[in-house]
């Protein structure tokens, strides 16, 4: 036996070393659920290599900062002017988009949808990579000491990057989305078709599990679907670059990642996500139409005539009246302004709960309707208070949402004003016996801006 071992000494040692490594590998595979079983030796290796990387990155950034902060400032003024102009344009666009978003939130709230928000992120710098073309992963300079934990999403402003695979005290290993073992729940933006995003041997990214009878076009945007419980829904993933037949009955959709995975420098780690019911954020929003209305000239007050006209309270006001049951619903629309009357039962929640409407009532000496009575809601457009606009909006929404509501001119009160002069309410019927001073909205401020 000894002679055999002696004769094949080299081979025996080779087999022994290989056996030990296979054994170690088998133990790791068996305990794959516990990813921490090799943590200590990995920390040693990372601890040897990453300090050099950090040092080099520091030197590199320092020289870069010196160049960009002191020598590369030519054209900054012109660029500043251009950026300011862009900001103006984007502000207007933001107003429009925020209105759309508020509408979407309202709809989500109606359907009790839950939303996921990125509540907290940690910026990190890429300091290294796995260095192999067979596994695509990077090292970042933030670790468990900074709140990083495995399975956290890693993103850039461009799109998703990957997920944290292992978190060491001061560094973390991030598995990129083009690694062959990664999987991301993704969907096509237009068609909302869902699939699984995976990497290939060549480092490409492919959207799989989309049936081959679906229509997918080159250039379609791909977003995260949120199905993997790692990436919040709706983050940009990439764009479709090639569509072909795949295995079995699925398409092979090649995707160009939105983030440049080969040249990553700074990333954001999503350390906290929040899931909550959608909240309609219409209150407090300023609509684009309101901004334009403030900037346009408007009709001035008629202070003297106001006394004779019943409740000629608001000059440039949109008046809504919630009348009692039995009021005749007639639609009345002026040229530029609407006088809307919501016909509701007195005990309706709208009549009872709308404190904003109650506070805005200006119906002096009008015959008091039963219960909540005739509530006249004066929306002071000129005040510029967003809350008022929101009240108006909510009232209109309630009005639209109820089958019993209708637009009608006031029957027992007179919301006539200069702005709604096209409405011809029965003034004599609704005129109160005495004309008390009507609370005036700040119409004087309604001067052209």
């Amino acid at each position: 036996m000894e002679s055999v071992l002696g004769r094949y000494r080299n081979l025996t040692i080779l087999v022994g070393v290989l056996f030990l490594q296979v054994l170690g590998l088998a133990v790791q595979v068996k305990r794959s659920a516990d990813a921490e079983n090799t943590r200590l030796i990995r920390i040693w290796a990372v601890g040897v290599i990453t300090p050099f990387e950090r040092g080099l990155i520091w030197v590199q950034n320092s020289s870069h900062n010196v160049w960009h902060n002191y020598f590369f400032l030519r054209g900054v003024r012109a660029e500043n002017r251009e950026l300011k102009a862009q900001i103006e344009q984007m502000r207007l666009e933001q107003v429009r988009l925020s209105e759309d978003a508020a509408q979407a939130h309202r709809l989500q709230q109606l359907l009790a949808f839950k939303e996921q928000f990125i509540a907290q992120t940690v910026p990190a710098q890429v300091i290294g990579s796995s260095g192999s073309d067979l596994s695509r992963s990077i090292y970042i300079d933030k670790g468990s000491n900074d709140g990083i934990a495995p399975d956290m999403a890693v993103i850039t402003a461009g799109g998703i990057v990957g997920k944290v695979l292992r978190a060491y005290p001061s560094t973390s290993l991030v598995l990129l989305i083009n690694d062959q073992t990664s999987g991301v729940g993704a969907m096509l933006e237009k068609s909302r078709l869902q699939g699984v995003l995976q990497g290939t041997a060549n480092g490409e990214v492919v959207l799989q599990r989309v049936m081959n009878d679906e229509q997918v076009a080159v250039g379609d945007a791909v977003l995260s679907s949120g199905g993997d419980q790692i990436f919040p829904k709706g983050l940009p993933v990439g764009t479709v670059t090639k569509v072909g037949a795949g295995k079995e009955m699925f398409l092979r959709i090649q995707v160009k990642p939105a983030a440049d995975l080969s040249r990553l420098e700074e990333v954001l780690v999503v350390t906290q996500k929040q899931e909550r019911l959608a909240i309609a954020e219409g209150a407090g929003r300023v609509r684009a139409a309101d901004i334009l209305a403030q900037r346009l000239p408007s009709v001035p007050d008629k202070p003297a005539v106001a006394a004779s006209a019943p409740s000629s309270g608001s000059a440039s006001a949109t008046t809504q009246q919630i009348s009692t049951p039995g009021a005749k619903p007639v639609q009345a629309t002026t040229g530029t302004t609407q006088s809307a009357t919501v016909t509701k039962p007195s005990g309706s929640p709208l009549a009872g709960n709308n404190s904003a409407s109650s506070s805005a009532v200006s119906a002096p000496n009008a015959p008091a309707p039963p219960a909540a009575g005739a509530l006249k809601k004066v929306v002071q457009k000129s005040s510029g208070e967003p809350g008022v606009n929101a009240d108006s909006e909510s009232a209109v929404r309630s009005q639209d949402g109820s089958a019993a509501t209708s637009l009608s001119p006031p029957s027992n009160s007179a919301p006539s004003n200069s702005a709604t002069s096209a409405v011809k309410p029965p003034v004599k019927q609704s005129k109160p016996a005495s004309s008390e001073p009507v609370p005036q909205p700040p119409a004087a401020e309604d001067s052209p801006h």
Binding site: N10, A45, I49
Partner: protein, 172 residues
């Protein structure tokens, strides 16, 4: 004639100082981890494999070669995302074969080194894929075009690298 068969007595065996023995593999691991961040195509190279082949062929001792390969491969595994041991096994085999080959053949000239490096790159890839797919169940795909190109790239870089590392050889 790129490869010549020589007897054991004719082949010179080299050794290296401890700083070179430790520093060169660590430097290779560092460069392999750091450089692809700036130059993505650098990841097609496998500097730790080239260092393994060089040390194994220079020492011409199978036991020394397999331990060198095992150590470098395991260190490379520790920096990667996959279980530890895949690179270790592959580089152990390469280290053993390279030192065994170095003991029988004189591979000092550039052409021989290019062919040997290409061959060992493919052996390394074959062992790696076998272990990764057979033991770890990784869904890795092999691409012949990429494999041959990467092998040639490693071969050319290896020729230059071996020329530099030859300066650190010490005769026994």
């Amino acid at each position: 004639m790129p490869i010549t068969y020589t007897s054991g007595e004719q082949i010179e065996v080299y050794r290296f100082s401890i700083p070179v023995t430790v520093g060169v593999p660590v430097l290779a691991l560092f460069l392999q981890s750091f450089v692809p961040r700036r130059f993505p195509y650098f990841s097609y190279l496998d500097l730790p494999l080239l260092v393994t082949i060089f040390f194994a062929m220079a020492r011409r001792n199978p036991i020394s070669g397999l331990f060198t390969g095992a150590a470098i491969g395991l260190a490379q595994d520790m920096l990667g995302a996959y279980p530890i041991g895949i690179y270790g096994i592959a580089k152990t085999v390469v280290g053993y074969l390279a030192s065994s080959l170095g003991a029988k053949l004189d591979v000092e000239n550039a052409g021989a080194r290019l062919l040997v490096t290409l061959g060992f790159y493919l052996v390394h890839a074959a062992v790696y894929f076998t272990v990764a797919r057979g033991m770890v169940s990784l869904t890795l795909d092999w691409s012949w075009s990429r494999g041959i190109l990467a092998g040639l790239a490693n071969g050319f870089v290896g020729v230059g690298l071996y020329f530099v590392l030859d300066k650190f050889k010490q005769r026994t």
